[in-house]
Amino acid sequence: MSAKQILTTLMMALAFVATGSMAQAADMPDQVSIDTMVKLFDSVEFDHAMHTDLGEDCSVCHHHTTGTGTADKRCVRCHADSEEYVPVGCSSCHVADPFSAENIQQKELDLYQFHIDKPGLKAAYHWNCIGCHEEMDGPTDCQDCHARTPEGDAFYHIDATGSSTSGH
């Protein structure tokens, strides 16, 4: 399977995620299925409700777009009084293909763009999840969140015995 196919699948999956999480506090989803890399890894069943129950503010994950807004010094200069965004789903800002020719070209066309270093969707997820999980002693092993598919096993050259360790 080509990388392009992975990418297409990823994008389609994200379109779904975005719709699912297009939510104000009122209609926020309890469960989000993140189908990003379904080729190498199965989808992540993200328990949104459980995470909101942790009592952290929405802005911990959603930055300035929802909740009480951000306190990050870098962000408040512009976003201190930002209105709530609609939608607030990750993929509405973080694109799945940050390094496509179009997206790179965009940097050349829009010379006043401020966020020239906005991470792509995959990185946005991993940073948010892993960063927090490490702090809160959540699961950090790859397969704790998404099980590797047979195709993923082949990709990493993991033989049937699966004897090797994984994680980081």
Binding site: F99, C142, Y156, S164, T165, S166
Partner: protein, 318 residues
């Protein structure tokens, strides 16, 4: 010798010089200063983001159809491997165009992972040292290699300041240089990022135009005070590279040669290349001059008493 008329002698020396200068004009083409194609692409590697998952190694292996690894790519015990008495970590070779190494610098709680691959220099040492012009720096920024003309002298490996090119020594009949080519054939030239960038879960690898990556790198340093060493490795090193690095630890503590010059490698050689046309032009006249002097002075045969002085002259002139 005495039988040779001056005219004939001159003709002979002119012929000799012509023969030597035949190749001269080509050699004299020492490359001028080159700082890279303006719209060339690059990758910014942010060591603070890398979690050492080795997915980039797996993606590279697949994209470049390299041989299956001895151990699976999720085997993290490979970071404990060292070579040559514990002095060396893994390096790219014929079976792996990129490797990730783990470092534990003092004062850092977390290990730091560093991906190694060809840095795709603006003015590559491999390219400038190759006597069959097997290397090309493409418009897109990749340094690619033509195995059809490679003779196998391995001067490029001597020259590479990053110790990147590997050689398939085990092949008897078709040994070639093997190194990262920025996925030029399959991706880069079609406007796609290389496979390693595509797979990276952490966006530790940022793909873009080199000039934008410099802006991004500086912005990261600026907006995250205390997080990074205030330096983009590869911005200026050895004339600049397409692949550049940001790090939280001093670069020499995470496997970089921090002592490299900002001059491209070829600049070390330009002194010599510059003398080549001078030698070609001056030597014939100078030595024929010496010859004529020696001939006039001494009747060309009997000059035993001159032995000592003339020999001194010869040694001293070097």
């Amino acid at each position: 010798m005495s039988g040779i008329s001056r005219r004939r002698f001159l003709a002979a020396s002119v012929a000799g010089c012509a023969a030597t200068t035949l190749a001269g004009p080509k050699k004299a083409l020492a490359a001028g200063a080159f700082t890279g194609y303006s719209d060339s692409m690059g990758v910014l590697v942010d060591l603070t983001r890398c979690i050492g998952c080795r997915s980039c190694e797996a993606a590279c292996n697949k994209e470049q159809a390299l041989p299956a690894p001895d151990r699976p790519f999720n085997d993290m015990s490979i970071f404990d491997e060292t070579f040559h008495g514990g002095t060396q970590k893994r390096r790219p070779d014929e079976n792996a165009y990129t490797v990730v190494n783990r470092y534990e610098p003092e004062g850092s709680d977390e290990p730091i992972y560093r991906k190694v691959q060809c840095n795709h220099c603006n003015e590559p040492a491999c390219l400038t040292s190759c006597f069959v012009n097997a290397y090309t720096k493409t418009q897109e920024g990749a340094v690619i290699y033509n195995n059809k003309v490679c003779v196998g002298c391995r001067n490029c490996m001597i020259a590479c300041p990053f110790n990147v090119p590997g050689y398939s020594y085990s092949s008897a009949f078709d040994p070639i240089v093997k190194k990262c080519i920025f996925c030029h054939d399959t991706r880069l030239k079609n406007g796609l990022p290389p496979a390693c960038v595509d797979i990276c879960p952490q966006e530790a690898l940022t793909f873009g135009m080199r000039k934008d990556l410099l802006k991004i790198g500086n912005q990261r340093i600026q907006t995250h005070p205390g997080r990074y060493v205030d330096h983009i490795y590869g911005e200026k090193e050895l004339g600049g590279t397409s692949w550049m690095y940001l790090s939280s630890a001093p670069f020499d503590e995470v496997g970089f040669d921090a002592n490299v010059s900002n001059e491209p490698i070829i600049n070390n050689v330009k002194d010599f290349l510059g003398t080549v046309p001078m030698v070609l032009a001056i030597w014939p006249a100078m030595f024929t001059g010496f010859h004529l002097l020696a001939k006039k002075q001494a009747g060309h045969d009997n000059h035993d008493e001159k032995v000592e002085e003339q020999h001194g002259e010869e040694g001293g002139e070097q």
